[in-house]
């Protein structure tokens, strides 16, 4: 493990960290000194991110983990303990591959719901249960990657907004439930560049300028540089008196919380 940084000596498991925002969070957390368990549905993606962390002098363990599989979640937690001897924080970042697919609410069916909820909500329940004894032992924290869409709703991404809103409810209730044991639970709602958004930019070159113009700071956040430091803060000692909060990191785009 890295010996410097606010998270030195601690272990963080990040779900969905094989790419996109999860990768950025993993890099930032590792940069803050944490040993990072890179839990990714696609094992090769997790290996790549872990190698990137180690290439920077950090410590990482790639773990194949489809969060819709309870056994794989338990195995990822077990591997974290076996490798690093402790688990201080869990970042539940994984979200459905259909998160950014525009959907008509009238056409939504049960399968679509389960696709979204299985990753965002059911997996959150399972991750929380699996990690709970270790988080209690470490007096650590659970950080949930939610979204401004969960605060404001979305006409075009109704299921995404629904599950992200649900995560905020879980954060608030779990913060109250686990607070007495010294475990903090917070949410982070970013506006960040993702592979899906990069693809959208390629297909629609005007989109980037349009989105930037809607954001007071004039750009879409970078997962590692803009969102990652807030995740480090929420996991770190500076946030030791914060729990049950959702922090919106959106360049000022969303101010309604």
């Amino acid at each position: 493990m890295t010996t410097a940084g606010p998270l030195a000596g601690q272990t963080v498991l990040v779900t969905g960290s094989g790419g996109g925002v999860g990768r950025g969070l993993a890099l930032a957390l590792a940069g803050a000194g944490a040993a990072v368990v890179v839990a990714a549905r696609r094992p090769h993606a997790g290996v790549s991110v872990a190698a990137e962390i180690e290439g920077r002098g950090g410590s990482a363990l790639p773990v194949g983990c489809d969060v819709t599989d309870a056994d794989q979640i338990r195995a990822a937690v077990d591997e974290a303990i076996a490798s690093f001897g402790r688990l201080d924080h869990v970042v539940h970042n994984a979200s459905s591959g259909r998160s950014s697919v525009v959907t008509d609410l009238l056409e939504v069916d049960r399968a679509a719901w389960h696709d979204h909820a299985g990753v965002a909500l059911t997996a959150l329940h399972r991750v929380a249960r699996a990690a709970h004894p270790h988080l209690v032992k470490a007096r650590g924290s659970l950080l949930v990657l939610t979204s401004p869409a969960g605060v404001e709703g979305s006409a075009t991404l109704p299921l995404y907004a629904t599950v992200k809103a649900g995560q905020r409810g879980a954060v608030k209730a779990l913060a109250r439930e686990w607070g007495p044991a010294g475990v903090r639970v917070n949410g982070l709602a970013p506006l960040a560049m993702t592979p899906a958004l990069e693809n959208a930019y390629r297909e629609n070159p005007e989109l980037e300028a349009r989105l930037a113009a809607m954001t007071p700071l004039g750009r879409i956040g970078d997962a590692e540089q803009d969102i990652g430091p807030v995740a480090v803060f929420l996991c770190g000692p500076g946030a030791r008196y914060m729990t049950g909060q959702t922090i919106v990191v959106s360049g000022g785009r969303f101010t309604a919380l």
């Binding site: 909820a117 329940h125 249960r129 709703g153 995560q167 608030k172 209730a173």
Partner: protein, 227 residues
């Protein structure tokens, strides 16, 4: 007088079963009937039952209100998350949201412009309550879904609002234990006999409130005061 006249010119569908006269759906249906609204009860939020309920309601008068007050078993029963297995979680979270989704879709298909959809959810999600993680998740997910529907359907003249109620008001019963730190100890309103859930619902369903959409009204006697 104007509002009383308007109430009597439309019909409503109330979803949520009528197991007991004290269930939220039963109390809301009764309140609407007192205002001379033609009400059709739908016990389960199933597509066929909802379509039939809509058709029956529309025979009486224009269908202008849908109330979703379906509260799955387990929503009002406090359980620590680590003791809640997959089936318990699914029974609260997935069933709550899917039931609401079914009602919303049925309402959108048969609603007329100017119609209002009101969804009753547990208030425990607003500020969080220990022992109610699944219920809080379900309640906030339902609020997110309602906001999304409100955004999607406002151009069609359909409003969607939320009423957040205490567990004790959703299932008034001696079995509802008050373990959380945000729960009001009393159910079914205050000492003066008013039913706070019903009172607040009538505000959102009022003909004068048809242009309000995407809002959440908290009917908990002031226990929760949002920023």
């Amino acid at each position: 007088v104007r509002a009383e006249t308007a109430w009597s010119t439309w019909s409503a569908v109330v979803v949520g079963g009528r197991d007991t006269p004290r269930s939220p759906a039963a109390r809301l249906a009764e309140a609407l009937r007192r205002r001379h609204v033609a009400v059709e009860d739908v016990r389960e939020p199933e597509p066929d039952e909802l379509a039939a309920g809509c058709a029956r309601a529309a025979q009486h008068a224009p269908l202008r209100a849908f109330v979703h007050a379906h509260v799955p078993a387990g929503v009002v029963v406090p359980t620590p998350l680590v003791e809640l297995d997959d089936s318990g979680w699914t029974r609260v979270v997935d069933e709550s949201v899917l039931a609401m989704l079914t009602t919303l879709q049925a309402a959108r298909r048969c609603a007329e412009p100017g119609a209002t959809v009101l969804v009753v959810v547990p208030a425990v999600g607003l500020v969080g309550t220990a022992g109610y993680v699944a219920s809080a998740t379900a309640g906030e997910a339902q609020r997110g879904l309602a906001k999304s529907a409100a955004r999607a359907w406002r151009s069609a003249g359909i409003s969607v609002n939320v009423l957040a109620a205490e567990p004790a008001d959703l299932a008034p019963s001696d079995e509802v234990s008050v373990r959380g730190n945000t729960l009001s100890p009393r159910g079914m309103g205050d000492d003066d006999g008013h039913d706070r859930l019903v009172d607040a619902a009538m505000v959102l369903l009022s003909p004068d409130g048809a242009s309000t959409t995407g809002v959440t009204l908290v009917a908990d006697g002031g226990a929760t005061m949002l920023p």
